[in-house]
Amino acid sequence: MLTIIAENTGNSLHIITSQLAGAATTLGMKSQIICPNGIGADEAAMITGVTKVTSVLGDCFGVFDSTAWADAISSSIEEGVGIILASATPQGRELAAVIAAKRNIPIVQDAVALSPGIEVTRSIYSGKAVEKILVSGDCVITIRPNSFEAAINDNAAPINTVNNSSDVRVAVQEAMAKASERLDVSEADIIISGGRGMGSKDNFSYLEEIADALGAAVGASRAVVDEWGMPHTIQVGQTGKTVTPSLYIAVGISGAIQHLAGMRSSKYIVAINKDPDAPIFNVADYGIVASWEDALPVLKEELGKLS
């Protein structure tokens, strides 16, 4: 049996939790789900292949504090439990790493595939290479979002509740900038990214319009994040996010090796660039040699016809 640490969105279960259960199914294994602060326990109990859900309640869950959360969560998981799965989101990775250290077992982060054995496939050097690892003992494995099909809901597993808290060390002084309402690039199924070829930060509004039409996230290359002061959270590439959407549209991005590393595993890549020799065309499934000024209005119109 596998143990899954649930991820939540604040008040309900995050879809990645069903994907973790899907990963367990790939290995032909049943799973138990641990829900920090009890969030999403009812939803977790409905996931196929889940034998038990444990709600861990405690005062420590008010603020994200990985050492406190790991203490509360880990003491609700038996010793020698085998594989613990968690999500490779920023918070999930941190929590998982502390749980592994606490239990004195290794951790393998950001798996994109699993096969019985257990063989783990993960991307390294931000996508410039792939490694396969054999895990033979107890281990924590985090799974990259959207790497596995979500398990379906057709279950009514028992839920039990435990009270486990721990000393909190992180205090929040002040909530600051709100994240944009836009989708996060690391979770989006479609991304439209702009680079220096967009000319200026203001011109990103054209990308945003198309993103809205497609339900896509907006990304950016390192050059524009650094030079135009755009948020680092949307940077795609070796010092930004590594993304694997179904569709990645690169506009005015030349395709430096660091950018390609972060997006080359996308299922389909469309490149729009006025320079026919831009390296981005080497990884594009569909390359369009055109300026963004010419291309984006047509793209917007055509996408509008689809809906």
Binding site: R93, A97, V98, V170, A175, Q258, Y268, Y286
Partner: protein
């Protein structure tokens, strides 16, 4: 105050990564550099050193080539350099045991590191070490300051960002922040060349590196993509959109 910064030497982000017989060919790496997020941790550590009059200890773990990176850190102001010398693959537990033993040897009020290294992309080391040395932990931070006996930082989270504080000891794993990275001056470079590096191995740290239950099977290059289709001009966009819908089924 003892400020520890953990640094890792990795292939420069501009370097091509080649694979020979199922292993990354390190000999073909054109340039080795400090991992990018570690540079932000180092810059912040230098600012903390200046604001608290503290002592800055730079620690790395890796083969002999990593010594140069420690010297680079000394050139911008690291006071003490510790090199945990180790060749070859280490799992997360092993690397964290080695580094936390080295940290405990010097004693740290605060430990700074990058949120993840540019080679393994894992991000386990900072949080794992926090647990092992009994410290608090925050990742994805920038702008770490020491105020009224506590450390504060700006932490990115899923809903934006927040200012947090933690008491000593604590571990901060850095994201890219607003800080400009400083470059060494000639005097710094000259002084750094004379700086001693304390070399320690697993035995001297009292750590036994036993066989791991996590084994590397192979490295591979990412799968090559089939050559794509290229179109000329914005007038081709209706065709491409149709293909995205009918051929690729992604919209």
């Amino acid at each position: 105050m003892n400020i520890v910064v953990l640094l890792k030497q990795v292939p420069d982000t501009t370097a091509k990564i080649s694979v020979v017989s199922g292993r990354i060919n390190e000999d073909s790496v054109s340039k080795w550099s400090m991992s990018p997020y570690d540079e932000y941790a180092l810059e912040s550590a230098l600012q903390l050193k200046e604001s608290t009059n503290g002592s800055l200890i730079a620690i790395t773990c890796g083969p002999d080539r990593c010594a140069k990176m420690l010297t680079d850190a000394a050139a911008v102001g690291a006071d003490n350099l510790i090199h945990v010398v180790h060749e070859g693959y280490l799992d997360s537990m092993q690397i964290q045991s080695l580094l936390s033993s080295a940290i405990n040897k010097v004693g740290a009020d605060v430990v700074l590191c990058g949120k993840q290294a540019a080679d393994t992309n894992s991000g386990s080391t900072g949080p794992g070490i926090a647990e092992l040395i009994g410290a608090g932990c925050a990742t994805h931070v920038s702008e770490v300051k020491y105020e009224n006996g506590n450390f504060s930082a700006i932490r990115l989270n899923s809903s934006g960002s927040e200012k947090i504080s933690m008491s000593v000891p604590c571990v901060f794993a850095f994201d890219k922040g607003l800080s400009e990275l400083r470059r060494p001056n000639v005097r710094g470079i000259m002084m750094a060349k004379k700086k001693d590096i304390t070399k320690l191995d697993a035995g001297e740290l009292g750590v036994t590196v036993s066989e791991s239950e996590v084994k590397l099977i192979s490295h591979a290059s990412p799968p090559e993509k089939a050559p794509g289709q290229k179109f000329e001009g914005a007038s081709s966009i209706p065709t491409v959109v149709t293909k995205l819908r009918d051929e690729a089924n992604v919209i």
